[in-house]
Symmetry: C2
Subunit: 356 residues, 2 copies
């Protein structure tokens, strides 16, 4: 790795043990062994086990390996939505999930507010089978509250809830009892290269998919019934990204070893000093107005001098994120992931202070 | 890497420059940069360019990045087949493509012969829109001849031909003028870890997909029109496996540098000595009877003492492949990929001779 530190919201800085695990994987020929071998079956079991423990998944929740969060949107619509889903949209990624539903000709519906705004209307059309929520809207730094998810769960107990936990897991605690499915990609808070997505589903999802599969095609190799058939044996339908599955398990074990509570306390501390740095700064202000909805892992500031700030920090070796999409020119984004040390975030805050 | 040499037909031995490119990628922060950055756009352009040159793709053939050959089967059926495809099946992988078509409720048809046997009936139902062929049936070591593909092309000029070039590309020359689409995964002859698939399509495929997209859903992020929309800008719809795309391009450049002709001559030489070793061996005989249909890159021998031979070679540090599926106990498979040096194959032949 170079001497730069990437505070970009993903792809981001690699986890600090990434290279060590990579070397060990190569030494042990992980990329050359068979994906049907006992060695790889054990690796898949270990990675799944470490993720289940790290995310505190309740019994009955299964983990499957995809290649991106985009693919998770695709699989969720194909497997779990017959006619309609409903999407709470306040940024580019929550919107994209809705667009995927439309691409499959679903008559899906949307509750849309301004980017980064919070929701106050929780009504959903009766026909919606699944509710799409975004724990952490990476494009603008808005975070869904646990009590909002819980409220929807109580109000619509028969609808499925699919929660986007990209750039949220494992930094933010999530109560999986309130949701049926969740998904993330590994190039955010897990500090890995892109190319692997994780899809979590509960028994209810499996039942719905199995029932639908009797009359409808849910796809080919990565239908839920097929993922379960192989997953129950700690295998995958196809030859997966074995190297990344191995390393993801090792990173999950490292975070468990470090202590989940400590990692989350650090996340809170780093978010607090970054938030303070934004508040104190004459050129910056928070984009998300509601304090309690501000993401701890993707902190977004408005500024009229975005490119100048990016360049200043870049010269000091710190790479921060531009705004996303329409906000490219007047937002800056800071990732706050487990690999970002307290010292590096303190340095970032100190440098921000120097920009006048 | 350990001291072992993997002659398994994939995942297989890593390409001998793999680690060097990996180190450089990490030093240059390839896993941390944005997939929308100018740097990555250039990488994608370079990888695409190197592959086009290496495979001698004619103008009008585009390259897209998927995650496996399984995904290519899936995307081909979704994008290019309205009602029916036809599949020439003589092994597990050609069969699987047919199964994918059935999973999507297509009324597809099949010409099936015994595993490893050649075809003599080239008739295809009129309703088939696409013909699925397998250049190299990795499960049993049968290779389709260029003149057979050409014969089908001449006989059915209006049907699409999709050619599976898994474990064939880049070792075996392929005349892309005779086919409309091809696909492979990188963990075979390109000597990379699994997790990346390459899909090649021509203009005719794009036209068909675009037309079909007006009335039917072809999927979401990886429909052909969407892949083309992003691909034309040297981008991908989603955050792809950037690290592997970078390394694949470098390996393609290395093979170009070494000389495609030399690599293919070496492939022929190594196949010849391996074939001779099988013929001379009292415990081994060729599984594919037709000499001209024997694969040069996946050489399959019948034997009643498979596990014993595997174990003997394994103790010497050479890992060879078991038989596939039903042939697990009485086949052995040898990969002959660009990363396998002539010396290593000579050593393999010498060791085989010692088994009595």
């Amino acid at each position: 790795m170079s001497n730069k530190i990437y505070f970009t919201p993903g792809p981001s800085q690699l986890f600090y043990t990434f290279e060590e695990h990579l070397k060990k994987a190569l030494f042990n020929d992980i990329p050359s062994i068979s994906h049907r071998s006992a060695v790889f079956i054990k690796i898949l079991e270990e990675t799944t086990g470490a993720l289940k423990e790290l995310l505190a998944l309740p019994d009955g929740y299964n983990i499957y390996f995809l290649n991106s969060a985009n693919e998770a949107w695709d699989r969720i619509i194909l497997n779990l939505v017959e006619k309609s889903s409903h999407h709470f949209v306040n940024g580019a990624f929550s919107k994209k999930f809705y667009d995927f539903a439309l691409a499959y000709n679903k008559s899906s519906s949307i509750t849309q507010v301004n980017d980064g705004a919070s929701f106050d209307n929780w009504d959903i059309p009766g026909e919606a089978e699944l509710i799409g929520l975004t724990k952490n809207e990476t494009s603008v730094g808005h975070s869904f509250l646990e009590e909002e998810i819980q409220h929807l769960r109580g109000k619509y107990p028969s609808k499925l809830i699919a929660l986007d936990i990209v750039s949220a897991a494992p930094s933010l605690p999530i109560n999986f009892e309130h949701i049926d499915s969740a998904y993330f990609s590994v190039q955010k808070a897990f500090g890995m290269p892109s190319g692997l997505g994780i899809w979590i589903v509960n028994e209810k999802c499996h039942e719905i998919a199995l029932n639908r599969s009797k009359t409808t095609s849910l796809g080919s190799y990565r239908t839920l019934p097929n993922l379960k058939k192989f997953g129950d044996k700690h295998q995958t339908p196809e030859t997966p990204n074995m190297l990344f599955i191995y390393i993801l398990g090792k990173i999950a074990q490292d975070i468990l070893q470090m202590g989940v509570k400590r990692m989350r306390n650090d996340t809170t501390y780093k978010a607090a000093i970054l938030n303070q740095a934004i508040e104190d700064h004459p050129l910056l202000s928070h984009f998300v107005e509601s304090i309690k909805h501000r993401s701890k892992t993707t902190i977004v500031a408005k500024t009229e001098r975005a490119s100048e700030i990016l360049e200043f920090l870049n010269k000091k070796g710190l790479v921060i994120g531009t705004g996303y999409g329409a906000h490219k020119e007047n937002h800056i984004r800071f990732a706050n992931f487990p690999t970002h040390s307290k010292e590096s975030v303190e340095m970032l805050c100190d440098l921000l202070e120097k920009i006048e």
